[in-house]
Symmetry: C2
Subunit: 297 residues, 2 copies
Protein backbone atom coordinates (compact mmCIF):
# COMPACT_ATOMS: atom_id res chain seq x y z
CA UNK A 1 0.00 0.00 0.00
CA UNK A 2 1.29 3.46 -0.73
CA UNK A 3 0.83 6.43 1.58
CA UNK A 4 -2.27 7.57 -0.26
CA UNK A 5 -4.00 4.18 -0.01
CA UNK A 6 -3.25 4.04 3.70
CA UNK A 7 -4.96 7.38 4.06
CA UNK A 8 -4.34 9.90 6.79
CA UNK A 9 -2.62 9.21 10.10
CA UNK A 10 -4.82 7.42 12.65
CA UNK A 11 -4.00 5.82 15.98
CA UNK A 12 -4.47 2.39 14.37
CA UNK A 13 -2.29 2.93 11.30
CA UNK A 14 0.21 5.41 12.74
CA UNK A 15 3.49 3.50 12.24
CA UNK A 16 2.62 2.28 8.73
CA UNK A 17 1.61 5.78 7.64
CA UNK A 18 4.85 7.31 8.94
CA UNK A 19 7.15 4.58 7.58
CA UNK A 20 5.22 4.63 4.30
CA UNK A 21 6.63 8.11 3.64
CA UNK A 22 10.17 6.74 3.34
CA UNK A 23 9.84 5.03 -0.05
CA UNK A 24 12.44 7.31 -1.59
CA UNK A 25 15.04 6.95 1.16
CA UNK A 26 18.65 7.15 0.01
CA UNK A 27 19.24 3.46 0.88
CA UNK A 28 17.27 0.31 1.63
CA UNK A 29 19.14 0.01 4.92
CA UNK A 30 18.09 3.48 6.11
CA UNK A 31 14.49 2.78 5.13
CA UNK A 32 14.52 -0.55 7.01
CA UNK A 33 16.14 0.94 10.10
CA UNK A 34 13.64 3.83 10.21
CA UNK A 35 10.75 1.40 9.75
CA UNK A 36 11.81 -0.55 12.85
CA UNK A 37 12.55 2.60 14.89
CA UNK A 38 9.16 4.09 13.95
CA UNK A 39 7.24 0.88 14.67
CA UNK A 40 8.90 0.30 18.07
CA UNK A 41 8.55 3.96 19.05
CA UNK A 42 4.83 3.89 18.22
CA UNK A 43 4.39 0.57 20.06
CA UNK A 44 6.03 2.14 23.10
CA UNK A 45 3.75 5.20 22.97
CA UNK A 46 0.64 3.04 22.60
CA UNK A 47 1.67 0.95 25.59
CA UNK A 48 2.81 3.87 27.79
CA UNK A 49 0.06 6.30 26.76
CA UNK A 50 2.10 9.27 27.98
CA UNK A 51 0.33 12.45 29.01
CA UNK A 52 1.38 15.61 27.16
CA UNK A 53 3.36 16.55 30.30
CA UNK A 54 5.23 13.20 30.30
CA UNK A 55 5.98 13.56 26.59
CA UNK A 56 7.39 17.02 27.23
CA UNK A 57 9.46 15.70 30.15
CA UNK A 58 11.02 13.18 27.73
CA UNK A 59 11.71 15.96 25.21
CA UNK A 60 13.44 18.02 27.90
CA UNK A 61 15.44 15.01 29.16
CA UNK A 62 16.80 14.42 25.63
CA UNK A 63 17.52 18.14 25.29
CA UNK A 64 19.50 18.24 28.55
CA UNK A 65 21.34 15.09 27.49
CA UNK A 66 22.32 16.73 24.19
CA UNK A 67 23.40 19.93 25.92
CA UNK A 68 25.68 17.89 28.24
CA UNK A 69 27.64 16.53 25.25
CA UNK A 70 30.88 18.23 24.26
CA UNK A 71 34.33 17.16 23.05
CA UNK A 72 35.01 15.52 26.44
CA UNK A 73 31.64 14.21 27.52
CA UNK A 74 29.26 11.97 25.57
CA UNK A 75 26.06 11.82 27.61
CA UNK A 76 24.10 9.92 24.90
CA UNK A 77 26.69 7.11 24.98
CA UNK A 78 26.32 7.10 28.76
CA UNK A 79 22.53 6.84 28.31
CA UNK A 80 23.06 3.98 25.85
CA UNK A 81 25.34 2.33 28.44
CA UNK A 82 22.97 2.53 31.42
CA UNK A 83 20.02 1.27 29.36
CA UNK A 84 22.03 -1.80 28.30
CA UNK A 85 21.96 -0.66 24.66
CA UNK A 86 25.75 -0.47 24.30
CA UNK A 87 26.14 -4.01 25.67
CA UNK A 88 23.36 -5.29 23.40
CA UNK A 89 24.95 -3.72 20.31
CA UNK A 90 28.24 -5.32 21.39
CA UNK A 91 26.46 -8.65 21.83
CA UNK A 92 24.81 -8.71 18.40
CA UNK A 93 28.17 -7.85 16.82
CA UNK A 94 30.22 -10.37 18.83
CA UNK A 95 28.49 -13.72 18.50
CA UNK A 96 31.23 -16.36 18.62
CA UNK A 97 31.53 -20.13 18.53
CA UNK A 98 31.24 -21.97 21.84
CA UNK A 99 34.51 -21.95 23.73
CA UNK A 100 35.76 -18.63 22.36
CA UNK A 101 36.23 -15.80 24.87
CA UNK A 102 33.33 -13.37 25.16
CA UNK A 103 33.38 -9.68 24.31
CA UNK A 104 32.25 -6.82 26.46
CA UNK A 105 32.05 -3.06 25.96
CA UNK A 106 35.14 -1.08 24.91
CA UNK A 107 34.38 1.88 27.16
CA UNK A 108 35.60 5.45 26.57
CA UNK A 109 39.11 5.19 28.05
CA UNK A 110 41.09 3.20 25.48
CA UNK A 111 44.00 5.05 23.81
CA UNK A 112 45.53 3.83 20.57
CA UNK A 113 49.19 4.56 21.23
CA UNK A 114 50.01 2.87 24.53
CA UNK A 115 53.68 1.76 24.77
CA UNK A 116 54.65 -1.84 23.97
CA UNK A 117 56.57 -3.55 26.77
CA UNK A 118 58.56 -6.72 27.37
CA UNK A 119 56.70 -9.44 29.20
CA UNK A 120 56.59 -8.88 32.95
CA UNK A 121 56.81 -5.09 32.80
CA UNK A 122 55.01 -3.17 35.57
CA UNK A 123 52.50 -0.80 33.92
CA UNK A 124 51.83 0.97 37.22
CA UNK A 125 54.14 3.97 36.88
CA UNK A 126 53.47 5.64 40.24
CA UNK A 127 53.71 2.68 42.68
CA UNK A 128 50.24 3.41 44.11
CA UNK A 129 48.06 0.45 44.99
CA UNK A 130 48.29 -3.27 45.72
CA UNK A 131 50.81 -5.12 43.56
CA UNK A 132 49.33 -7.58 41.09
CA UNK A 133 50.59 -10.08 38.52
CA UNK A 134 48.33 -10.89 35.58
CA UNK A 135 49.18 -13.90 33.45
CA UNK A 136 47.64 -16.45 31.15
CA UNK A 137 47.67 -18.21 27.81
CA UNK A 138 45.97 -17.33 24.54
CA UNK A 139 44.76 -20.29 22.49
CA UNK A 140 42.67 -20.99 19.41
CA UNK A 141 39.36 -22.84 19.68
CA UNK A 142 41.18 -26.16 19.21
CA UNK A 143 43.39 -25.50 22.23
CA UNK A 144 46.59 -24.63 20.36
CA UNK A 145 48.64 -21.83 21.96
CA UNK A 146 48.88 -18.71 19.78
CA UNK A 147 52.20 -16.90 19.41
CA UNK A 148 52.57 -13.17 18.76
CA UNK A 149 49.10 -12.23 19.95
CA UNK A 150 48.85 -8.51 20.74
CA UNK A 151 47.52 -7.91 24.26
CA UNK A 152 46.48 -4.30 24.78
CA UNK A 153 45.56 -3.73 28.45
CA UNK A 154 44.37 -0.72 30.42
CA UNK A 155 42.78 -0.19 33.80
CA UNK A 156 41.76 2.37 36.41
CA UNK A 157 44.14 3.00 39.31
CA UNK A 158 43.77 2.23 42.98
CA UNK A 159 41.39 5.19 43.34
CA UNK A 160 39.17 4.28 40.38
CA UNK A 161 40.51 6.75 37.80
CA UNK A 162 42.14 6.24 34.41
CA UNK A 163 45.27 8.25 33.54
CA UNK A 164 43.33 10.27 30.94
CA UNK A 165 40.90 11.36 33.66
CA UNK A 166 43.76 12.62 35.86
CA UNK A 167 46.19 14.35 33.53
CA UNK A 168 48.99 15.85 35.61
CA UNK A 169 48.04 13.72 38.63
CA UNK A 170 48.82 10.28 37.17
CA UNK A 171 51.83 9.80 34.85
CA UNK A 172 50.90 9.63 31.15
CA UNK A 173 50.16 6.05 30.06
CA UNK A 174 49.85 4.94 33.68
CA UNK A 175 48.32 1.46 33.84
CA UNK A 176 48.34 0.90 30.06
CA UNK A 177 50.54 -1.29 27.93
CA UNK A 178 50.81 -3.58 24.96
CA UNK A 179 52.34 -7.08 25.29
CA UNK A 180 52.81 -9.98 22.90
CA UNK A 181 52.46 -13.67 23.65
CA UNK A 182 55.51 -15.91 23.33
CA UNK A 183 55.82 -19.18 21.41
CA UNK A 184 53.89 -20.99 24.17
CA UNK A 185 50.98 -18.53 23.89
CA UNK A 186 51.58 -17.06 27.34
CA UNK A 187 51.64 -13.45 28.53
CA UNK A 188 52.32 -11.80 31.86
CA UNK A 189 52.62 -8.30 33.22
CA UNK A 190 52.56 -6.47 36.53
CA UNK A 191 50.07 -3.81 37.64
CA UNK A 192 47.95 -2.91 40.69
CA UNK A 193 44.63 -4.34 41.75
CA UNK A 194 41.91 -2.12 40.17
CA UNK A 195 39.02 -0.53 42.10
CA UNK A 196 35.40 0.08 41.26
CA UNK A 197 34.47 3.56 40.10
CA UNK A 198 31.50 5.75 39.23
CA UNK A 199 30.49 6.61 35.69
CA UNK A 200 29.96 10.40 35.33
CA UNK A 201 26.85 11.06 37.43
CA UNK A 202 26.62 14.85 37.43
CA UNK A 203 24.41 15.07 34.30
CA UNK A 204 20.91 14.02 33.21
CA UNK A 205 21.91 10.32 33.06
CA UNK A 206 23.08 10.49 36.68
CA UNK A 207 19.77 12.17 37.57
CA UNK A 208 17.88 9.36 35.84
CA UNK A 209 19.85 6.70 37.74
CA UNK A 210 19.01 8.42 41.03
CA UNK A 211 15.31 8.59 40.14
CA UNK A 212 15.45 4.88 39.25
CA UNK A 213 17.10 4.05 42.58
CA UNK A 214 20.25 2.82 40.78
CA UNK A 215 23.90 3.46 41.70
CA UNK A 216 26.44 4.66 39.09
CA UNK A 217 29.28 2.21 39.87
CA UNK A 218 31.20 -0.21 37.69
CA UNK A 219 32.85 -3.17 39.46
CA UNK A 220 36.66 -3.32 39.37
CA UNK A 221 38.01 -4.68 36.08
CA UNK A 222 40.91 -4.73 33.63
CA UNK A 223 40.34 -3.95 29.95
CA UNK A 224 41.80 -6.07 27.14
CA UNK A 225 41.92 -5.95 23.39
CA UNK A 226 43.38 -9.30 22.28
CA UNK A 227 44.17 -9.51 18.57
CA UNK A 228 46.03 -11.52 15.97
CA UNK A 229 45.70 -11.58 12.18
CA UNK A 230 43.18 -14.17 11.07
CA UNK A 231 41.29 -14.10 14.39
CA UNK A 232 38.21 -12.24 15.53
CA UNK A 233 39.42 -9.30 17.62
CA UNK A 234 38.44 -9.71 21.26
CA UNK A 235 37.51 -6.58 23.22
CA UNK A 236 36.77 -7.52 26.78
CA UNK A 237 37.28 -7.04 30.52
CA UNK A 238 38.21 -9.35 33.34
CA UNK A 239 36.44 -8.68 36.63
CA UNK A 240 37.30 -8.85 40.31
CA UNK A 241 34.96 -11.48 41.83
CA UNK A 242 35.01 -9.81 45.26
CA UNK A 243 33.76 -6.42 44.10
CA UNK A 244 30.56 -5.29 45.81
CA UNK A 245 29.16 -4.07 42.45
CA UNK A 246 29.84 -7.26 40.48
CA UNK A 247 26.11 -8.07 40.29
CA UNK A 248 24.98 -4.54 39.53
CA UNK A 249 27.45 -3.03 37.01
CA UNK A 250 25.88 0.31 36.00
CA UNK A 251 26.58 -0.49 32.32
CA UNK A 252 25.85 -4.27 32.40
CA UNK A 253 29.35 -5.25 31.23
CA UNK A 254 29.80 -8.31 33.45
CA UNK A 255 29.61 -11.82 31.98
CA UNK A 256 30.04 -14.98 34.03
CA UNK A 257 32.91 -16.14 31.82
CA UNK A 258 34.85 -12.91 32.41
CA UNK A 259 35.09 -13.18 36.19
CA UNK A 260 38.70 -13.81 37.22
CA UNK A 261 40.25 -15.04 40.47
CA UNK A 262 42.48 -12.79 42.55
CA UNK A 263 44.74 -15.03 44.67
CA UNK A 264 46.82 -13.51 47.48
CA UNK A 265 50.46 -14.65 47.33
CA UNK A 266 52.31 -14.28 50.62
CA UNK A 267 55.46 -16.36 49.92
CA UNK A 268 58.56 -14.12 49.74
CA UNK A 269 60.24 -16.41 47.17
CA UNK A 270 57.34 -16.13 44.73
CA UNK A 271 57.16 -12.36 45.23
CA UNK A 272 60.88 -12.07 44.64
CA UNK A 273 60.61 -14.21 41.48
CA UNK A 274 58.15 -11.71 39.90
CA UNK A 275 60.08 -8.67 41.13
CA UNK A 276 57.94 -7.58 44.11
CA UNK A 277 59.17 -6.92 47.67
CA UNK A 278 56.07 -8.23 49.45
CA UNK A 279 52.71 -9.98 49.04
CA UNK A 280 50.82 -9.49 45.80
CA UNK A 281 47.64 -10.55 43.97
CA UNK A 282 48.04 -13.25 41.37
CA UNK A 283 45.49 -13.28 38.53
CA UNK A 284 45.57 -16.03 35.94
CA UNK A 285 43.26 -15.59 32.96
CA UNK A 286 43.32 -17.39 29.62
CA UNK A 287 41.74 -16.30 26.36
CA UNK A 288 40.46 -18.27 23.37
CA UNK A 289 40.34 -16.50 19.99
CA UNK A 290 37.80 -17.47 17.34
CA UNK A 291 38.95 -17.63 13.72
CA UNK A 292 37.81 -14.58 11.76
CA UNK A 293 35.40 -16.46 9.47
CA UNK A 294 33.80 -18.43 12.28
CA UNK A 295 31.47 -15.74 13.66
CA UNK A 296 28.15 -17.35 14.34
CA UNK A 297 25.32 -15.99 12.20
Amino acid sequence: MDAHELGYFTEATSAEVVAGRNKNAESDRLREVMEVITRKLHEAIKEIEPTQEEWFEAIMFLTRTGHMCDDWRQEFILLSDVLGVSMLVDAVNSRRPTGASENTVLGPFHVGDAPEYQMGHNICLDQKGDDMVVRGTVRDVDGNPLEGVKIDVWQANDEGFYDVQQKGIQPDFNLRGVFRTGADGTYWFRAVRPKHYSIPADGPVGDLLRRLGRHPFRPAHLHYIVSKDGYDELTTHIFDPDDEYLHSDAVFGVKQSLIAEFVRVEEPERAKAVGFDGPYWDVEFDFVLAPKAAKAA
Copy 2:
Protein backbone atom coordinates in the same frame (compact mmCIF):
# COMPACT_ATOMS: atom_id res chain seq x y z
CA MET B 1 12.86 -12.80 39.68
CA ASP B 2 15.24 -10.29 41.15
CA ALA B 3 18.34 -9.02 39.35
CA HIS B 4 20.52 -11.63 41.00
CA GLU B 5 18.29 -14.55 39.98
CA LEU B 6 18.22 -13.31 36.39
CA GLY B 7 22.01 -13.36 36.43
CA TYR B 8 24.25 -11.26 34.27
CA PHE B 9 23.24 -9.48 31.08
CA THR B 10 22.87 -11.76 28.06
CA GLU B 11 21.45 -11.15 24.61
CA ALA B 12 18.43 -13.29 25.53
CA THR B 13 17.63 -11.63 28.89
CA SER B 14 18.88 -8.11 28.14
CA ALA B 15 15.70 -6.08 28.65
CA GLU B 16 14.61 -7.97 31.78
CA VAL B 17 18.05 -7.57 33.35
CA VAL B 18 18.11 -3.82 32.67
CA ALA B 19 14.52 -3.16 33.78
CA GLY B 20 15.09 -5.41 36.80
CA ARG B 21 17.47 -2.80 38.20
CA ASN B 22 14.66 -0.27 38.63
CA LYS B 23 12.93 -1.87 41.63
CA ASN B 24 13.63 1.16 43.80
CA ALA B 25 12.47 3.78 41.30
CA GLU B 26 10.92 6.89 42.84
CA SER B 27 7.47 6.01 41.44
CA ASP B 28 5.62 3.04 39.96
CA ARG B 29 4.87 5.13 36.88
CA LEU B 30 8.55 5.88 36.19
CA ARG B 31 9.41 2.20 36.66
CA GLU B 32 6.64 1.14 34.25
CA VAL B 33 7.58 3.73 31.65
CA MET B 34 11.26 2.75 31.77
CA GLU B 35 10.34 -0.94 31.50
CA VAL B 36 8.45 -0.29 28.25
CA ILE B 37 11.15 2.04 26.86
CA THR B 38 13.88 -0.49 27.67
CA ARG B 39 11.95 -3.43 26.21
CA LYS B 40 11.05 -1.62 22.96
CA LEU B 41 14.58 -0.24 22.59
CA HIS B 42 16.08 -3.71 22.99
CA GLU B 43 13.52 -5.21 20.59
CA ALA B 44 14.50 -2.57 18.04
CA ILE B 45 18.24 -3.32 18.45
CA LYS B 46 17.64 -7.07 18.11
CA GLU B 47 15.64 -6.53 14.94
CA ILE B 48 17.97 -3.92 13.40
CA GLU B 49 21.26 -5.52 14.53
CA PRO B 50 23.12 -2.22 14.06
CA THR B 51 26.84 -2.27 13.41
CA GLN B 52 29.00 -0.32 15.86
CA GLU B 53 29.28 2.37 13.16
CA GLU B 54 25.48 2.61 12.78
CA TRP B 55 25.07 2.81 16.56
CA PHE B 56 27.60 5.64 16.66
CA GLU B 57 25.81 7.42 13.80
CA ALA B 58 22.62 7.32 15.90
CA ILE B 59 24.52 8.69 18.93
CA MET B 60 25.87 11.55 16.82
CA PHE B 61 22.44 12.28 15.29
CA LEU B 62 20.94 12.63 18.79
CA THR B 63 23.90 14.79 19.84
CA ARG B 64 23.46 17.15 16.87
CA THR B 65 19.72 17.28 17.57
CA GLY B 66 20.42 18.28 21.18
CA HIS B 67 22.96 20.89 20.15
CA MET B 68 20.37 22.45 17.77
CA CYS B 69 17.98 23.11 20.67
CA ASP B 70 17.96 26.54 22.29
CA ASP B 71 15.37 28.97 23.65
CA TRP B 72 13.96 29.48 20.14
CA ARG B 73 14.37 26.10 18.48
CA GLN B 74 13.22 22.70 19.75
CA GLU B 75 14.71 20.13 17.39
CA PHE B 76 13.62 17.13 19.52
CA ILE B 77 9.98 18.25 19.24
CA LEU B 78 10.54 18.56 15.49
CA LEU B 79 11.93 15.01 15.49
CA SER B 80 8.89 13.84 17.48
CA ASP B 81 6.68 15.62 14.92
CA VAL B 82 8.23 14.10 11.76
CA LEU B 83 8.19 10.59 13.27
CA GLY B 84 4.46 10.89 14.00
CA VAL B 85 5.12 10.69 17.74
CA SER B 86 3.56 14.08 18.53
CA MET B 87 0.39 13.16 16.63
CA LEU B 88 0.25 9.77 18.34
CA VAL B 89 0.61 11.32 21.80
CA ASP B 90 -2.15 13.76 20.83
CA ALA B 91 -4.28 10.84 19.63
CA VAL B 92 -3.97 8.76 22.81
CA ASN B 93 -4.85 11.84 24.86
CA SER B 94 -7.79 12.95 22.71
CA ARG B 95 -10.04 9.94 22.28
CA ARG B 96 -13.60 11.27 22.03
CA PRO B 97 -17.10 9.92 21.55
CA THR B 98 -18.29 9.46 17.96
CA GLY B 99 -19.51 12.70 16.46
CA ALA B 100 -17.23 14.98 18.50
CA SER B 101 -14.65 17.03 16.55
CA GLU B 102 -11.18 15.52 16.36
CA ASN B 103 -8.01 16.96 17.82
CA THR B 104 -4.73 17.54 16.05
CA VAL B 105 -1.34 18.87 17.15
CA LEU B 106 -1.05 22.26 18.87
CA GLY B 107 2.14 23.24 17.07
CA PRO B 108 4.72 25.72 18.37
CA PHE B 109 3.10 29.01 17.29
CA HIS B 110 0.20 29.48 19.69
CA VAL B 111 0.37 32.55 21.95
CA GLY B 112 -1.72 32.84 25.07
CA ASP B 113 -2.61 36.53 24.96
CA ALA B 114 -4.16 37.11 21.51
CA PRO B 115 -6.76 39.93 21.50
CA GLU B 116 -10.46 39.16 21.80
CA TYR B 117 -12.56 40.62 18.98
CA GLN B 118 -16.20 41.15 18.09
CA MET B 119 -17.64 38.66 15.62
CA GLY B 120 -16.68 39.44 12.01
CA HIS B 121 -13.42 41.21 12.84
CA ASN B 122 -10.63 40.89 10.25
CA ILE B 123 -7.57 39.37 11.97
CA CYS B 124 -5.36 40.12 8.97
CA LEU B 125 -3.75 43.38 10.08
CA ASP B 126 -1.61 44.07 6.98
CA GLN B 127 -4.11 43.43 4.15
CA LYS B 128 -1.77 40.93 2.47
CA GLY B 129 -3.35 37.87 0.87
CA ASP B 130 -6.68 36.61 -0.44
CA ASP B 131 -9.66 37.70 1.63
CA MET B 132 -11.47 34.94 3.48
CA VAL B 133 -14.51 34.55 5.70
CA VAL B 134 -14.56 31.69 8.21
CA ARG B 135 -17.83 30.82 9.89
CA GLY B 136 -19.65 27.98 11.55
CA THR B 137 -21.58 26.69 14.51
CA VAL B 138 -20.39 24.99 17.69
CA ARG B 139 -22.71 22.32 19.06
CA ASP B 140 -22.70 19.65 21.75
CA VAL B 141 -22.85 15.96 20.80
CA ASP B 142 -26.66 16.09 20.91
CA GLY B 143 -26.72 18.85 18.30
CA ASN B 144 -27.60 21.73 20.64
CA PRO B 145 -25.83 25.02 19.76
CA LEU B 146 -23.38 26.18 22.44
CA GLU B 147 -23.28 29.83 23.47
CA GLY B 148 -20.18 31.61 24.77
CA VAL B 149 -17.67 29.12 23.38
CA LYS B 150 -14.18 30.62 23.21
CA ILE B 151 -12.70 30.29 19.73
CA ASP B 152 -8.96 30.99 19.71
CA VAL B 153 -7.67 31.04 16.10
CA TRP B 154 -4.25 31.59 14.55
CA GLN B 155 -2.73 30.98 11.15
CA ALA B 156 0.27 31.60 8.91
CA ASN B 157 0.09 34.47 6.44
CA ASP B 158 -0.06 34.46 2.67
CA GLU B 159 3.67 33.64 2.55
CA GLY B 160 3.53 30.77 5.05
CA PHE B 161 4.87 32.58 8.14
CA TYR B 162 3.35 33.22 11.57
CA ASP B 163 3.67 36.71 13.09
CA VAL B 164 6.06 35.37 15.78
CA GLN B 165 8.39 34.15 13.00
CA GLN B 166 8.47 37.60 11.39
CA LYS B 167 8.69 40.12 14.23
CA GLY B 168 9.00 43.60 12.73
CA ILE B 169 7.82 42.36 9.33
CA GLN B 170 4.27 41.36 10.26
CA PRO B 171 2.28 43.42 12.78
CA ASP B 172 2.15 41.89 16.28
CA PHE B 173 -0.83 39.54 16.67
CA ASN B 174 -1.30 39.43 12.91
CA LEU B 175 -3.71 36.61 11.99
CA ARG B 176 -4.62 35.75 15.59
CA GLY B 177 -7.75 36.41 17.56
CA VAL B 178 -10.23 35.18 20.13
CA PHE B 179 -13.99 35.12 19.38
CA ARG B 180 -17.02 33.90 21.28
CA THR B 181 -20.09 32.17 19.88
CA GLY B 182 -23.46 33.87 20.15
CA ALA B 183 -26.72 32.45 21.52
CA ASP B 184 -27.21 30.45 18.30
CA GLY B 185 -23.72 28.85 18.66
CA THR B 186 -22.35 30.60 15.59
CA TYR B 187 -19.02 32.37 15.06
CA TRP B 188 -17.52 34.25 12.14
CA PHE B 189 -14.39 36.23 11.44
CA ARG B 190 -12.38 37.50 8.49
CA ALA B 191 -8.78 36.60 7.58
CA VAL B 192 -6.71 35.61 4.50
CA ARG B 193 -6.42 32.22 2.87
CA PRO B 194 -3.41 30.46 4.49
CA LYS B 195 -0.52 28.91 2.53
CA HIS B 196 1.55 25.79 3.07
CA TYR B 197 4.95 26.25 4.71
CA SER B 198 8.12 24.38 5.58
CA ILE B 199 8.98 23.25 9.07
CA PRO B 200 12.55 24.31 10.02
CA ALA B 201 14.73 22.18 7.74
CA ASP B 202 18.22 23.58 8.35
CA GLY B 203 19.06 21.17 11.20
CA PRO B 204 19.55 17.42 11.74
CA VAL B 205 15.81 16.73 11.36
CA GLY B 206 15.83 18.46 7.95
CA ASP B 207 18.88 16.36 7.01
CA LEU B 208 17.03 13.21 8.04
CA LEU B 209 13.98 14.16 5.94
CA ARG B 210 16.24 14.69 2.90
CA ARG B 211 17.94 11.31 3.43
CA LEU B 212 14.47 9.72 3.68
CA GLY B 213 13.34 11.41 0.46
CA ARG B 214 10.69 13.39 2.36
CA HIS B 215 9.73 17.06 1.96
CA PRO B 216 9.40 19.40 4.99
CA PHE B 217 6.03 21.02 4.13
CA ARG B 218 2.81 21.33 6.06
CA PRO B 219 -0.37 21.84 4.01
CA ALA B 220 -2.21 25.16 4.48
CA HIS B 221 -4.37 25.22 7.62
CA LEU B 222 -5.96 27.38 10.33
CA HIS B 223 -5.40 26.55 14.02
CA TYR B 224 -8.23 26.49 16.58
CA ILE B 225 -8.56 25.99 20.29
CA VAL B 226 -12.30 25.68 20.97
CA SER B 227 -13.22 25.66 24.64
CA LYS B 228 -16.10 26.01 27.06
CA ASP B 229 -16.39 25.05 30.71
CA GLY B 230 -17.71 21.52 31.11
CA TYR B 231 -16.47 20.42 27.66
CA ASP B 232 -13.32 18.67 26.52
CA GLU B 233 -11.02 21.36 25.10
CA LEU B 234 -10.59 20.95 21.34
CA THR B 235 -7.18 21.77 19.86
CA THR B 236 -7.33 21.31 16.12
CA HIS B 237 -6.75 22.61 12.59
CA ILE B 238 -8.92 22.97 9.55
CA PHE B 239 -7.19 22.23 6.25
CA ASP B 240 -7.34 23.57 2.71
CA PRO B 241 -8.49 20.64 0.53
CA ASP B 242 -6.68 21.97 -2.56
CA ASP B 243 -3.22 22.09 -0.99
CA GLU B 244 -0.61 20.01 -2.82
CA TYR B 245 0.77 18.69 0.52
CA LEU B 246 -2.60 17.62 1.98
CA HIS B 247 -1.67 13.92 1.63
CA SER B 248 1.89 14.27 2.86
CA ASP B 249 1.87 16.68 5.83
CA ALA B 250 5.44 16.53 7.22
CA VAL B 251 4.04 16.19 10.76
CA PHE B 252 1.00 13.96 9.98
CA GLY B 253 -1.54 16.45 11.34
CA VAL B 254 -4.25 15.93 8.70
CA LYS B 255 -7.43 14.02 9.52
CA GLN B 256 -10.24 13.44 7.04
CA SER B 257 -12.77 15.12 9.33
CA LEU B 258 -10.70 18.31 9.49
CA ILE B 259 -10.66 19.07 5.76
CA ALA B 260 -12.70 22.18 5.06
CA GLU B 261 -14.16 23.59 1.84
CA PHE B 262 -12.92 26.88 0.42
CA VAL B 263 -15.69 28.31 -1.78
CA ARG B 264 -14.95 31.29 -4.05
CA VAL B 265 -17.60 34.03 -3.69
CA GLU B 266 -17.77 36.43 -6.67
CA GLU B 267 -21.09 38.21 -5.98
CA PRO B 268 -20.47 41.89 -5.07
CA GLU B 269 -23.52 41.97 -2.78
CA ARG B 270 -22.25 39.07 -0.66
CA ALA B 271 -18.75 40.59 -0.54
CA LYS B 272 -20.20 43.93 0.53
CA ALA B 273 -22.31 42.23 3.20
CA VAL B 274 -19.18 40.83 4.91
CA GLY B 275 -17.18 44.03 4.44
CA PHE B 276 -14.97 43.11 1.47
CA ASP B 277 -14.54 45.11 -1.79
CA GLY B 278 -14.15 42.10 -4.09
CA PRO B 279 -14.27 38.31 -4.35
CA TYR B 280 -13.34 36.26 -1.27
CA TRP B 281 -13.06 32.68 -0.02
CA ASP B 282 -15.92 31.43 2.12
CA VAL B 283 -15.11 28.65 4.62
CA GLU B 284 -17.87 27.13 6.69
CA PHE B 285 -16.75 24.75 9.42
CA ASP B 286 -18.73 23.48 12.40
CA PHE B 287 -17.39 21.96 15.61
CA VAL B 288 -18.88 19.49 18.08
CA LEU B 289 -17.59 19.55 21.66
CA ALA B 290 -17.62 16.43 23.83
CA PRO B 291 -18.64 16.77 27.47
CA LYS B 292 -15.63 16.68 29.76
CA ALA B 293 -16.46 13.37 31.45
CA ALA B 294 -17.24 11.60 28.19
CA LYS B 295 -13.67 10.87 27.04
CA ALA B 296 -13.55 7.32 25.74
CA ALA B 297 -11.30 5.00 27.72
